[in-house]
Amino acid sequence: MIAESMYQELILEHYKHPQGRGLRDPYDAEVHHVNPTCGDEITLRVKLGDGGKVEDVSYDGQGCSISQAAASVLHELTAGSTVDETLAVVEEFTRLMQSRGQVEADEDVLGDAVAFAGVAKFPARVKCALLAWMAYKDAVVRSST
């Protein structure tokens, strides 16, 4: 179900109680992404394990609840998954965010991240939601090369 409001309980929950926040060692790659239009920023580290598993995604940053909650949800979704699995989610999430509200969210793929569907209608907030996810994609690329 597409959210009516942007502030789903789940988003606020993640914002107030971010999961996996804080930068941790060891890591394979660290990236720093900024959303220049609103000043939101994130530093994100990725540690990959055997069999294409994501071992840890740790992060720190500042910004609005959407960008912060998105990082927390990302952390949860990646934990214990393979890189390939997570990249599929990133792709679906990006598609949803860039749809300007014209696309149905695929809850099977997105899991909790479906809570961000309401954000897609607000072009200015889409970048907030994507900030951590784009940073993650970037970090994964750097880890694997």
């Binding site: 220049p36 239009t37 300007r100 509200g101 209608k121 607000f122 072009p123 200015a124």
Partner: protein, 419 residues
């Protein structure tokens, strides 16, 4: 007319066409080449948006801001689809075709940009043609004057065709950009884009098309055309005033310096420097013509629903009829192709011994026939034909053969007045 195209139904969409002019004259509007009339479908969308959904776009995050932004960006999608743009991000909204042409002209010879394709200075050449609208002449003159580059041009044959006999001398390794009109706003001539483009590609130059008179009257597909830039204007495609379109290849828009600076075209601003948003926003400084873009979206929807093919067919029949009927007026000389071959529904002519200003005025005063008289912003073309001015009748989807009859009757009367 027998095209499954119901002109009487279409005319009902355009409120002004059932208007009486002062003195009880009916309106016979044969000046769509100058600007087209607007259907209710466009007017209502604009009114509704202004009344109930308006706010600034992009920057506003509230409900109205979202509605306005969505409507504005949807208009971009519609326009992109209408002209076959490979990407919506290649569609830049300007205030008219002139701004689109100037935007590209200002992209050249900017000292802050070092992409070689846009470097321009003494020794470099710009090529236009003698049949251009002033809006595709003056921006390049100004550019040449600012940079020291040389402006060259194709001449026009007696039949009103682009003279390509010296294509190879004209377009050379020194050429940076060739900008020509797709369909002439005076002659009606449709130019052979592919032939010119082949030479442009050979010498590694860029090519721009002024499609102000083609986008309203034929299915234009930028990908099929293969040019680099294309400009057109909203008010000629039954859209509102205050909106135009520049389409440009994504990688070129990216390589160009910004034109105007301001809100919405930036990524981040410090006092001493800025970074810019990607195209199209990089070229849309300040609050854009929001409601106008939305109106343009409604206009291309309107035309698409009728079908560009049907419109082409209708105009073709009208033009054939007009060329025939005008050919019988004594002393009338058509300036431009006299057959239907590669020409659109714009017919310019002179009447022996009578100044076009007088022709136009009497047509209007006595018969409500609205034509355009003068040089139609194409003075060099008129100089080429050795005439100060012409009378121009231009047709669109809502015109009828009866209106052409009214024109011809009017011309006979003009000749009587000045006999």
């Amino acid at each position: 007319m027998n095209t499954g195209f119901d002109v009487e139904r279409i005319r009902k969409d355009f409120p002004v066409l059932s208007r009486e002019l002062p003195g009880g004259r009916p309106l016979v509007y044969l000046d769509s080449g100058n600007s087209a009339q607007k259907p209710t479908q466009v007017i209502d969308v604009m009114r509704e948006h202004l009344a109930m959904h308006y706010s600034n776009v992009g920057r506003a995050m509230h409900a109205l801001g979202a509605e306005s932004t969505e409507a504005y960006e949807n208009a971009r999608d519609k326009v992109a689809a209408f002209i076959g743009a490979p990407s919506r991000d290649e569609v830049v909204f300007t205030k008219n075709a002139s701004e689109a042409l100037n935007l590209v002209a200002y992209g050249f010879g900017n000292p802050t940009n070092d992409d070689p394709r846009f470097r321009l200075g003494p020794g470099d050449e710009i090529v236009i043609s003698e049949m251009e609208h002033h809006s595709n002449i003056v921006p390049w003159q100004l550019l040449a004057q600012r940079t020291g580059a040389t402006l060259k041009w194709f001449s026009v044959t007696d039949e009103g065709r682009l003279d390509l006999s010296n294509l190879e001398e004209l377009v050379t390794e020194r050429t940076k950009i060739v900008s020509i009109v797709h369909q002439s706003n005076v002659l009606g001539t449709v130019n052979p884009v592919a032939e010119v483009l082949a030479r442009v590609r050979q010498v590694g130059a860029l090519m721009m098309l002024d499609a102000s008179q083609s986008v309203p009257h034929q299915q234009v597909d930028v990908a099929a055309l293969g040019v680099d830039f294309l400009a057109f204007t909203g008010h000629k495609v039954v859209g509102p005033s205050g909106i135009g379109v520049l389409w440009g290849r994504g990688e070129l828009l990216e390589a160009m310096p910004p034109f105007m600076g301001g809100g919405e075209m930036i990524e981040a601003v410090w006092m001493d420097h800025s970074t810019y948003a990607p195209a199209p926003h990089k070229f849309e400084a300040g609050t854009p013509p929001i409601v106008e873009a939305i109106g343009l979206g409604a206009a291309v929807d309107y035309l698409s629903a009728i079908g560009m093919d049907a419109i082409v067919q209708h105009e073709r029949e009208l033009t054939g009829y007009a060329l025939g009927a005008l050919g019988e007026v004594p002393g009338l000389r058509v300036i431009g192709p006299e057959s239907l071959d590669r020409r659109g529904g714009t017919v310019s002519f002179t009447l022996e011994g009578i100044h076009p200003h007088d022709v136009g005025q009497i047509l209007d005063d006595n018969f409500g026939v609205a034509v355009r008289v003068g040089h139609h912003c194409a003075r060099p073309l008129h100089l080429r034909f050795g005439i100060p001015a012409t009378t121009r009748a231009s047709f669109y989807l809502y015109n009828t053969p009866a209106e052409i009859d009214a024109l011809v009757r009017g011309l006979h009367h003009v000749q009587k007045v000045f006999a």
